[in-house]
Amino acid sequence: MHIIVPIKQVPQTSDVQMDRQTGTMIRSSSASILNPLDLYAISAALELKDRYQARVSVITMGPANAVKVLKEAIAMGCDDAVHLTDRAFGGSDTWATSYILSLAVKKLGIPDLILAGERATDGDTAQVGPALASWLDLPAVTYVSKIETVDGDTLIAERLIEEGYQKVKTSLPALLTVVKEISSVRLPTLSGKKRAMASSIAVWDAQAIQADNRYIGLKGSPTKVVKIDVPKVSRNCILTKVEDDVSLKKGVDQLMAFLEEKDLLPKGGAHHG
């Protein structure tokens, strides 16, 4: 069994504080990390590796320093990695990115399974996974919370959707996007770190994957960013301190009046809460 996990390098947000005046993010540094939601895809792939002796490949598209997230994935237990890097890839939207990734997957050979994180924490679109499946004409099974069985060329999984957990059966090869619930995150091991240091990572540019330059980068992207605004904090918080019974009563009175004015209270008399 061969599994490919596409991953992404994103800006670090965990230590970020909000600027109280402007409502913007104060970045502690320009550090970048492996997209936190990709950790679950990698861990799910490694669980399948344990169960079915799979080979797990990771691929990423990004600048030179994105190699760091590939090494991290190898340290966690992935077997090999491909780094897609080329100035011509810069500015790619989800359409162009999924095109580039699809060419890399084809060059690696269509695997049994592609496992992707639900979305990346920076762009937050959740579009690249299903789009990649579309380029490859593979089934797109999204929001997977559990992989029950893999039997030959059939996989049974549970998806977390609005109505509950939906059980689905898909033929393989297929692309799955996974949610956090699918696995607990594996930590890099010492031997994994050594292997990551020693491993040579394939570096492919646009020519290596024979990308059509009409479909890549800023020029090949259907969507164009017209402008970026930093939203101001529009919410003016009414703050009431509750310190004793008197201020408690007063504070809750104020809250109820506030909710009443905004028509946010349940209608009275309909039922007993």
Partner: protein, 331 residues
């Protein structure tokens, strides 16, 4: 003139509310462009009254594909209907809901029809000179707003979060056309089969579709106390949410998790109890209409985003609110 389209969604009980919300967005764009508003409904045993209802809520043309192979959403079979339909009719705009189905189908279709797609748009407008669609969306945890357009590709595709638009009022006098799409053997998808559904434990509806969400965090101190959140949610007629901390501690199940690694929601009212407001959590509630925070720490991050805050002991505050809501319901 090329139409503006929305994608309507069905559940077991008929059309989802978000289908009507999308019509409100689509109607505004279609009026501005002076074109017809179409909607596409895919499913099985779709009721005639639902189609009529779409027209009453602002739609001019309803395209219906009703077939057993479409009873459950699977990306491939739905795409097999939608891709040829888009290619044939050539709508200029296609708006879908940012639901698990919409977020799966739209990127899949966008690749096939070579169109630009923008996720989670909060604003849609028409650019004066070019008549292009301007799509505004939050990015990087809601810390920036990006305005995006797809000048050279059609349709211009967007997804919109449920509850971010008000459902339009119906007009029984409105008329429109229903276009039935003849079933095709290509719709059937042999690759993916839906085997069953297990409902979420405890709560009936999902938090992404709730008007009111009451969420609890670390400040509740222990699992037993989380019932205070459940009681308050019930009193508000809302659903239970939870911070990542609360879910990791096992106080609530993962489907209730709000934030970057959980769900991004836009309820009319979000009540955050004992949640300090890590940036990942705030990213999940930026588009909530109204946020009430109940927290002991007046410097908690959540207060930056709240419209109303009660700062004090939540174990004193919650029972008092609960009492008031119960008194109201007895009126």
């Amino acid at each position: 003139m090329a139409e503006v389209w929305t994608l309507s969604e069905c559940s077991f009980h008929g059309l989802k509310d978000v289908s009507y919300e999308l019509l409100a967005r689509g109607r505004a764009l279609a009026d501005e462009l002076g074109v017809l508003l179409g909607t596409v409904v895919l499913g099985h045993r779709i009721q005639g009254e639902d189609l009529q209802s779409l027209i009453e809520h602002g739609c001019d043309v309803v395209y219906v594909a009703d077939d057993q192979s479409l009873a459950n959403f699977t990306c491939e079979s739905y795409a097999n209907v939608l891709v040829p339909l888009i290619q044939e009719k050539g709508p200029q705009v296609m708006i879908a809901a940012a639901t698990t189905a919409g977020r799966t189908l739209m990127p899949y279709v966008a690749v096939k029809v070579h169109a630009g797609l923008t996720a989670d748009c909060t604003e849609l407008a028409i650019e004066k000179d070019t008549k292009n669609l301007l799509q505004t969306r939050p990015a990087i945890g809601g810390n920036i707003m990006a305005t995006i357009k797809s000048p050279d590709h059609r349709p211009q595709m967007s997804t919109i979060r449920p509850r971010s638009t008000k459902k339009p009022l119906p007009d029984a006098k409105r008329t429109g056309t229903v276009v039935r799409i003849a079933s095709s053997p290509t719709w059937k998808n042999e690759q993916v089969q839906v085997l069953g559904l297990r409902s979420l434990e405890g709560q009936s509806a999902s938090i992404e579709e709730a008007d009111i969400v009451v969420s609890g965090g670390k400040g509740l101190k222990k699992r037993d106390n989380f019932s205070l959140i459940e009681d308050l949610a019930k009193a508000f007629d809302g659903e239970v949410g939870a911070s990542r901390d609360a879910v990791d501690r096992g106080w609530a199940a993962y489907p209730h998790q709000v934030g970057l690694s959980g769900k991004t929601i836009s309820p009319r009212l979000y009540v955050a109890v004992g949640i300090s407001g890590a940036i990942q959590h705030l990213a999940g509630i930026k588009t909530a209409k109204c946020i009430v925070a109940i927290n002991h720490d007046e410097h908690a991050n959540i207060l930056n985003l709240a419209d109303f805050a009660l700062v004090g002991d939540l174990f004193a505050i919650l029972p008092e609110i609960q009492k008031r809501l119960q008194e109201r319901s007895r009126v």
